[in-house]
């Protein structure tokens, strides 16, 4: 796993148009960004296209990264994720049934807890997610990791879309209250 201090330093150099630093940044983070995007865009060629666009944006905007507001990897992953979400919403409504195997939410929730590299921020977030009801936590995880829309979630949990929306809002409120008491 990459050291966050190194990534912040690389981003600072990238903002000064340092191409070597950009290549090092790419080497250190591309598999992670591919992982983020590939879970949302299950077509490999689309995932790669979106990751390319994300890195061009990272090259353009490295100077906007603020270490006080989060980790370098989180900042980069958010850029890639936002592009992936734009794409997945544009293409077609995704049904969770279309997702390939091996992406069960249970695996997502266990993985971080088992990871040695989990940060304090992740630990805090997982603790707060753990306080949500099982189903509500699953909904948040599916939305974040898989880009599930309200419609897809409604289908999966056999609940009307407005109910899903209400659950999402309550969960978000509860999460914030837990993270920032």
């Amino acid at each position: 796993m990459t050291d966050s201090i190194d990534l912040a330093d690389l981003l600072a150099r990238v903002s000064r148009r340092d191409r070597d630093a950009f290549r090092a940044l790419h080497r250190a983070t591309a598999p992670k960004l591919m992982g983020v995007v590939a879970r949302i865009l299950t077509r490999g060629d689309m995932a790669s296209e979106v990751v390319q666009e994300a890195y061009v944006k990272i090259w353009d905007r490295a100077g906007e990264f603020d270490p006080a507001k989060g980790s370098p990897l989180g900042w980069m992953a958010t850029i890639a994720r936002n592009r992936a979400l734009d794409e997945v919403r544009r293409v077609r409504p995704v049904s969770l049934e279309d997702m390939p195997d091996g992406f069960e939410p249970a695996a997502e929730t266990e993985d971080p807890m088992a990871s040695r590299e989990r940060s304090e921020r992740l630990k805090a977030l997982m603790r707060c997610l753990g306080q949500l009801d099982g189903q509500k936590r699953e909904i948040v995880m599916l939305a974040y990791y898989r880009g599930a829309s309200r419609e897809a979630l409604a289908k999966r949990f056999d609940a009307p879309v407005p109910t899903i929306k209400t659950w999402l809002h309550r969960s978000l409120q509860q999460l914030r209250g837990c993270l920032e008491p």
């Binding site: 080497r27 983020v36 790669s48 353009d60 989060g70 734009d86 977030l125 599930a148």
Partner: protein, 235 residues
């Protein structure tokens, strides 16, 4: 002025990813000019971002870096003033994001006021749509370069048919074709070079459904399915 509870949730859902295409585009456009909303989205993104640490890595294609560098190089011609080019690119992207939203159309007053303070605007967007809640294509135009970029928002061409883009202005008489546009990818079109700035800025842009490959006669085969007009978005 503080954020309404609705906007606060919209910011949270934007970060979580559960908004639909139209809501997402609307929020993306609004955050460009509403710092409070933008800050709320960033705060939510930061709260949730640690989840990415837990994601298993996926090997990227071997040519990924080469493709990225080719894109970067294509955007930064040798000898160009890189700093100003980056600024321009940033604005251009912001304009493209704004174009994704019908909120951009509603904000016309704000944009006009803002751009009116500086020089005449050079960048414009139009949202081509059937009704207020169904944006289908976003058109961006740079008046200086006459570059026209068409981005599909939620368009699907009927099987065996093509979408064709038209520029409509009194001065031109009949609608003039700007070519066939792709419903699934970005179309870049240089054909605006034939028209003067005033015509380009004031024209109506319309999309018709045509036989595959475009209208065989050079005129629209039927009524437009999506229409829109340009609004200025950037200096």
């Amino acid at each position: 002025m503080s954020l309404t509870p609705e906007d606060d949730f919209a910011a949270g859902e934007f970060a979580l990813g559960t908004l639909d295409a139209a809501e997402r585009a609307t929020i993306a456009a609004r955050r460009q000019r509403e710092p409070e909303l933008d800050a709320a989205i960033r705060a939510w993104e930061a709260r949730l971002a640690p989840l990415n640490e837990a994601i298993a890595e996926v090997a990227p294609p071997p040519d990924l870096l080469a493709k990225i560098e080719a894109r970067i190089d294509a955007g930064a011609p040798v000898g160009a003033d890189v700093a100003s080019l980056q600024t321009r690119l940033g604005r251009w992207r912001a304009a493209a994001v704004a174009a994704m939203s019908l909120a951009a159309m509603l904000a016309i007053g704000v944009f006009v006021r803002e751009t009116g303070r500086t020089n005449a605007p050079h960048e414009f967007v139009a949202v081509l749509q059937k009704s207020a809640d169904s944006p289908a294509f976003a058109v961006s135009v740079n008046i200086d370069t006459r570059e026209l970029v068409v981005r599909p928002v939620a368009a699907t061409a009927p099987a065996g048919k093509s979408y064709e883009l038209w520029i409509i202005a009194d001065k031109l008489g009949k609608p003039r074709s700007l070519g066939v546009i792709d419903a699934a990818a970005i179309t870049r079109n240089p054909k605006l070079g034939a028209y003067d700035s005033a015509t380009v800025e004031g024209a109506t842009y319309a999309v018709t459904v045509e036989p595959e490959g475009g209208s065989p006669t050079g005129d629209p085969s039927g009524a437009p399915v999506f229409v829109g007009k340009l609004i200025p978005v950037g200096p």
